[in-house]
Subunit: 308 residues, 4 copies
């Protein structure tokens, strides 16, 4: 027994939006570690390759655990989320195609007159080495992260399928064990939500569905009082990163890089154009998702370039 | 002395388009190694931090060495380019901002009424360790590649600033030592061009200008007879990769991933939807450039997932 | 006196989101005409050319009158809004530039490192002919419409600055006198909002601000029971129209045209490819706004082509 | 007999690129009227509804008549093209779907894994009233224009399927009888091409194919010496218009509007921000094509607003 408080969503149900209208399910103090249990993006209903997603899906997707009220968080602060650990709470993961959803199909937004792609489900089994294997065809190494994490937006209540300045469904593999994530606080208590764990995911989350997992995240919260940010940021031992979410994809890239430059200016003393130059020489820029209602790109800078 | 044939652009001048209208400067047989010398993207005219790009730029940018006529190449073949080595032919590199060009400024296409960013030049010096340092501020490790490489398009003659299905100005760091690059052949001899060496570049080439370098590339050409491809492909010891170039950026991502799936289907026996699934689980997707007339994205798949 | 019920927003205040969480301010029966008063997009605070938008703006923009509960509206129905008349409730209108907002500037999404455009305010005065004149420079004919109109989305609460499938801030000049607008109903009562009257607006609403007006709209509601639509539709004496709102702009164009084809198929008996053909030959497609969080495009088809 | 010189493409064949490498077929003096004959976009090969486009298409599409060498045109000038008349040279027009081409299908750029739409051909017959009818289903009024018109780009040779700063395949209905079109001159003689007449076309050219027509255009050329423009412009009795061609579509809209503002500043004495304001109040903005390799949008301003 760990002595760590366990947080499970009450029977009243999961949330499918990030917003200010739901009652907090728990209050957590900065510095306290908690273990948060999350359902998979299908609410744990897709369990067999004999099922199609459209057989089991209800009206809403991507159930979130929360909101957690973080004690002391006030508008204008920055919420700090340290991801201590992510553990699978089952020995399988699932992926599938969903009609008119994904990176290589027309969608409700990139609308065409073509029929949808075939629906198919892939069930992955955990292996002795901790990876997840599909039949005897391939095994994906364990690389868990939360696809969805964030706080309540200012006045909106936004679908848990959408990423944005509040975080949300970013599907960014760097939201993982050992990394720290920062969010802007717009409401007292920040109103934190988390869900959509992935055992692993390719950059871009190409078909729109990763290795979907029920999981437990060990999290520790902190606050940077009186200092605000505009977009989610991530820090690892080696990198600082900003996440931009928008359409078209180049706008997500612009947002992420402008925000990373602002970070380099404020916290590392850079002149803005010098920061622009350094990222031109050594920045990293990958696609988190190319499938959600906004695309999420991650701009990264290795700390070794940032000086002392 | 290596005994390898050296290829320098004749005094008649560099080319600024990829097209079928220029006379080949040399004929090269498959299997022969050649050393190709390239000028930097500014024609080696930007040499000091006291200069601005707009002071020295002529009407054209990004001079190309070529075209090389590859013996035996016929329309419908695939040209194979093995990059044996890339060496700097000078001990400095240069970067700069250019008015209305770059990832974090309005441009001639993303046109606004705002004034341009300040022009500034950064001159990097080679260090004892082989990296390139800007003043005492930061040092970028040596990670050379050719920003521009490709063949003549079908009937068009395309600016060397533009990437596309013919290759061109992709600005993709994986076009580097030890990797093999594939291009579709549209003309007898393929008509190969190369230029725009970079000592290093961040993903996205954020300000539009990398660590621009004059360089020598040791290349060996090959042919896959009677087999065509649609977009440039890259192979390393560990990965297969496709490069998509288009706007908006999501179209570049779509092209790269569809092409990679076609590769997995033809050469690795995949069912298309299974390939789509595997890339959803384990694909990689980074931004080569977010600054050129088309954006270039690289979709990658590790060979370890592709089976035997 | 008209005997028509007047609806003014109560003193408790305007709403800045379209969502299901606000109490209806009035209940209206299908067939009843009501006169709805709306504030301008700045809450009537920008009143002089000596003011800049950033001097007077509060945290929220674009106040909405509503929600109105339409008796009998149920999820799955279509709400019908007949715009009988739009009248100005004052003799001036105002436009301005807003920092990092508009079609020809970088924005929070199309983020660059450039400074914003100059802030400036243009105050228009009503003329004897009913148009609105700026100084003695130009006079814009009276062409009033509501920039913002719609219903509560399904589970989200969306900023009144955003257009989408629920309607919202479409900024589409065809939402005008004599036209009928259709919205999908997601909640009992539909929860209708309206605001952001414009005395006139160019297609695209280029600087992001039209001739902003306080106004009174005479509206009559109806219901199409048991028939749902996916995106807002408009009907005039001569045309049927669908409004798509998305980014990039081509997705808005795709949505609008696919929806218009669905309308032609369901209500006018077209084969889908024949409808596609007819729109290729005679469809109309203009930009409503190129400035909001989603762009709105209007696809139109003249009824004379639709047969009997 | 008119006495006007007739220009037909020689038997050596049509051109499929806009570029500087072809020999001019005729030299024309400013002020001379000529009658230019053009083939339809399929080279007049698609003649029956029993044919599919893929049955008859050769490797290239959209044959151009030209280049015409305009006497006296020099780089830096503006070419003026007055369209005196457009006449059909046959009594039918044709449209069709083409696999992976069009506005409501995935394409080679917006690449998906879906199968293409069904191929179908629509043959229109000229009616007594001069319109074009498809069976007894609908009749499209005669509204002829040239889908493709322009000059040689600077150093590139660009496919006749692509629109850009040089003009090309804009598919903009305002390139019609009675209107004047302006192009930037990059080469001595300008090197003018024209083709792709349409009997009519919807805004957006939704399926990618209008009412394709073989035609005769009566044209008169002029020059504005020593004054350059950046993008094609159009003038009618009532409007000035700029055409922007780019992807994503919002970039085409930005280009067109920035260019129109530059026109208002240079020739009508506007302050740039006032021009921005006027277009916000009264500008027009429609989609010419949403199907070509670049999208073309037309920004228009009525002359009545431009002062004296």
């Amino acid at each position: 027994m760990t002595g760590i408080r366990e947080i499970r969503q009450p029977e009243s149900g999961y949330y499918y939006t990030f917003g200010p209208f739901a009652e907090p399910i728990e209050r957590v103090a900065p510095g306290e570690r908690v273990e948060v249990y999350t359902a998979d993006a299908f609410g744990n209903t897709l369990v067999s390759e004999d099922q199609k997603a459209s057989d089991v899906l209800g009206p809403y997707l991507n159930p979130q655990t929360g909101p957690l009220y973080i004690e002391g968080a006030e508008p204008g602060d920055t919420l700090v989320v340290r991801i201590i650990a992510i553990e699978a709470t089952r020995d399988w993961a699932v992926s599938c195609t969903v009609p008119y959803f994904g990176g290589l199909t027309s969608t409700n937004f990139t609308a065409t007159l073509q029929p949808p792609l075939e629906e198919r489900t892939w069930l992955y089994k955990r292996t002795a080495s901790g990876g997840f294997a599909w039949k005897d065809r391939w095994e994906i190494p364990w690389a868990p992260f939360f696809g969805t994490m964030g706080v309540s937006p200012h006045i909106e209540s936004i679908s848990s399928l959408a990423p944005g300045a509040h975080g949300g469904n970013m599907d960014v593999p760097d939201i993982t064990e050992g990394h720290t994530v920062y969010f802007p606080v717009h409401h007292p208590g920040a109103l934190f939500y988390v869900g959509d764990a992935h055992a692993a995911q390719g950059q871009g989350e190409l078909c729109g569905v990763a290795l979907e997992l029920a999981a437990k995240g060990t999290l520790e919260f902190g606050l940077i009082k009186g200092q605000s940010i505009e977009w989610p940021r991530i820090e690892s031992e080696t990198h600082i990163m900003s996440v931009g979410s928008a359409r078209p994809m180049e706008d997500a890239a612009r947002i992420a890089n402008v925000d990373l430059i602002k970070w380099m200016v404020r916290d590392y003393g850079f002149d803005p154009l010098d920061a622009y130059q350094l990222l031109s020489a050594a920045g990293e820029l990958y696609v988190g998702n190319m499938v959600d209602t906004n695309y999420s790109l991650v701009a990264r800078c290795a700390k070794k370039f940032l000086g002392s």
